[in-house]
């Protein structure tokens, strides 16, 4: 072990790490403090003498009340949740089957298919949103949750497939062979032996996919139009700024409440999420 002097440990470790923590978390603290601060305190010039921006002595839930009474925020939360869950489910189903096929089965074009799924993984949504909007209109899906439930898998499936394919490759083939010698069919061995072993991988892919769909913005912005159909990110952007006026208290209250579900899911499954994250870039 390399031995360090205490001052070196402070300069090279504690101070930088503290700065990283403050820098990373400050915007969230700022969200919280803005959300519970009364309007009278909120809109004070940055040069005002009596300004104490980092705390408030008069916390209020007024902004949260306005959020629920004046906007369709609960609808947005539900929509976001519903769309994220269903599209994650679809993507896991497809990714599981495709990942297994690409990792285990021999068939012509396996390599080419694997490569093309990987390439679609790298296609950003912003490249395709204009023609997709046209297609969604032609399919009569505009302004319905199905527009998103069917398009989110385009960036989730490649990721799930990629991750699960890597996972399946780590499961020894012998397990399957044993099951088949015992009389299981190929399909039976896949469903009853391999899939249960892959549960941690499935969980990682699922958590990661869920946060990605919760985060998605441009498709939701382009495909949805009526206020009560929107997802949280789009609703906050388009319904909470009236004219040129930003209602910062409400906005931050909405941002906070819109972040909590995904932060909760994340905090329960940090390790799985990290596996998903690091697995998402590994070949």
């Amino acid at each position: 072990m390399v031995i360090e002097r205490p001052w070196k440990r402070w300069v090279y470790f504690y101070i930088p790490l503290t700065l990283f923590v403050i820098g990373t978390l400050f915007p969230f603290y700022w969200m919280l403090i803005t959300a519970i601060r009364p309007d009278a305190e909120l809109y004070r010039s940055w040069r005002a003498v009596n300004n104490a921006p980092f705390w408030t002595l008069h916390p209020t839930l007024e902004h949260f009340r306005d959020l629920f009474e004046k906007t369709t925020f609960p609808h947005w939360l539900w929509n976001t949740f519903f769309i994220a869950v269903i599209s994650t489910g679809i993507s896991l189903f497809c990714g599981l089957l495709a990942g297994y096929a690409l990792a285990r089965l021999k068939f012509p074009m396996a390599g080419a298919l694997g490569t093309s799924i990987f390439v679609t993984y790298l296609v950003p949504p912003t490249l395709l949103f204009i023609p997709l909007a046209d297609i969604i209109r032609n399919f009569q899906l505009g302004n319905t949750p199905w527009a998103l439930i069917l398009t989110y898998p385009t960036f989730l499936i490649p990721f799930c497939t990629w991750l699960l394919m890597g996972y399946f490759k780590t499961i020894p083939k012998e397990l399957e062979e044993c099951a088949r010698i015992d009389g299981a069919t190929r399909f039976g061995a896949m469903v009853r032996i391999i899939f249960p072993i892959a549960v941690p991988g499935i969980l990682s892919a699922g958590i990661f996919a869920f946060t990605l769909s919760w985060n998605e913005f441009i498709y939701a912005l382009v495909f949805l139009s009526s206020p009560e159909r929107k997802t949280v990110p789009v609703g906050v952007v388009s319904e909470m700024i009236r004219g040129d006026i930003y209602f910062w208290g409400q906005l931050m209250a909405g941002a906070l409440l819109g972040s909590i579900p995904v932060a909760l899911v994340y905090s329960f499954f940090v390790e799985y999420y990290v596996t998903g994250l690091t697995g998402s870039v590994k070949g």
Partner: protein, 320 residues
């Protein structure tokens, strides 16, 4: 032997309960025994979904970009006119330059800070799990929502950052964070760095953890200092994972939309547009689908090069 419970796949029932008498089940079982047929069955949902919502829109986008389609009007073929028009458009030129500028600096910062953070997190200290988990928050929280918090922090009248800098004596007059094009671009780079750095840090940390500590010990016994140990031991071993992370980040940053859309909306005076936000403004807000599609297709060559590098690299790994 205790058998694991089957997952919720429909076909599982047929296989799990053998019907020795019926012909159909045998046919199906035999059908599933063929690797080719099973593979095509398993890949069908993926291929159908990706085909309908990626390949088809891609082809359709190329067609749109070659036509003068707008909302409500069926387009006609106009050749490369949309591309030529965009190329001569000064806002497009600005957006094009911005996109490279933004990607370049944001990626550099994310890599440098992410590497630093990864090295810090690779040491053992109390509360490490908590710190690591909270460091990923910017990456988890929907970008639009956290960008609003930044926008509020950059507010022209009520900026807390101006207040802080003023009180600590760094500035006398307020900094025009988002009301000036150059500052606006740098603000966007800062926010992008803030958001994307955790991704670098956590993936690089995963890479760091695979490095054998004995190597460091050997190097320090040989008299290498901290920097030399990083440069000659850590960095070469970390290069592969770094390349992959950088490629991913370049793709995401180059095609970024939401951050700019919320932070500046492309303003002031179209000074901070990226290709994606400008394509949105032309294609969706103005309704000129053809021109919008052409603008977003300008991203393709760069993405193509990046993906090609990535694929070549993967091949090399597989070959090794």
């Amino acid at each position: 032997m205790k058998k694991p419970i089957a997952g919720g796949t429909n076909g599982a029932v047929v296989v799990a309960l053998p019907h020795p008498g019926t012909r159909r089940a045998r046919g199906l079982t035999r059908f599933l025994e063929s690797e080719r047929l099973l593979a095509s069955l398993l890949l069908a949902p993926t291929v159908v979904l990706l085909g309908t919502f990626i390949a088809y829109p891609f082809v359709s986008g190329v067609w749109l970009s070659l036509s003068d389609t707008s909302v409500g009007n069926v387009g006609h073929f106009v050749g490369l006119k949309n591309f030529a028009k965009a190329w001569d458009d000064s806002i497009f030129q600005q957006a094009f330059r911005n996109t490279f500028f933004y990607t370049f600096w944001a990626t550099i910062f994310k890599l440098a800070l992410g590497m630093w953070l990864a090295l810090l997190l690779n040491r053992s200290f109390r509360g490490k799990r908590l710190v690591r988990a909270s460091m990923l928050l910017p990456f988890i929280i929907p970008t639009v929502l956290s960008t609003f918090a930044w926008r509020w922090m950059f507010d022209p009248t009520f900026s807390v950052l101006n207040w802080l800098l003023f009180r600590t004596g760094f500035i006398v007059n307020k900094i025009p964070f988002l009301s000036d094009g150059v500052y606006g671009m740098w603000c966007a780079i800062v926010v992008n760095t803030w958001r994307g750095m955790p991704f670098f840090a956590i993936t690089l940390l995963a890479g760091l953890q695979t490095i054998n500590p004995d190597l460091h010990e050997a190097a320090s016994l040989d008299g290498a200092n901290g920097w030399q140990r990083f440069w000659h031991v850590t960095w070469p071993l970390l290069k592969p994972v770094t390349l992959v992370v950088v490629v991913f980040s370049i793709i995401q940053t180059f095609s970024d939309f939401q951050l700019i859309y919320v932070l500046t909306g492309g303003g002031p005076a179209n000074a901070t547009h990226l290709l994606a936000t400008y394509a949105y403004q032309v294609g969706v807000a103005t309704g000129l689908l053809g021109e919008g599609a052409a603008i977003s297709l300008f991203m393709l060559p760069v993405l193509f090069v990046v993906v090609w590098v990535q694929l070549r690299y993967l091949r090399r790994l597989e070959g090794a």
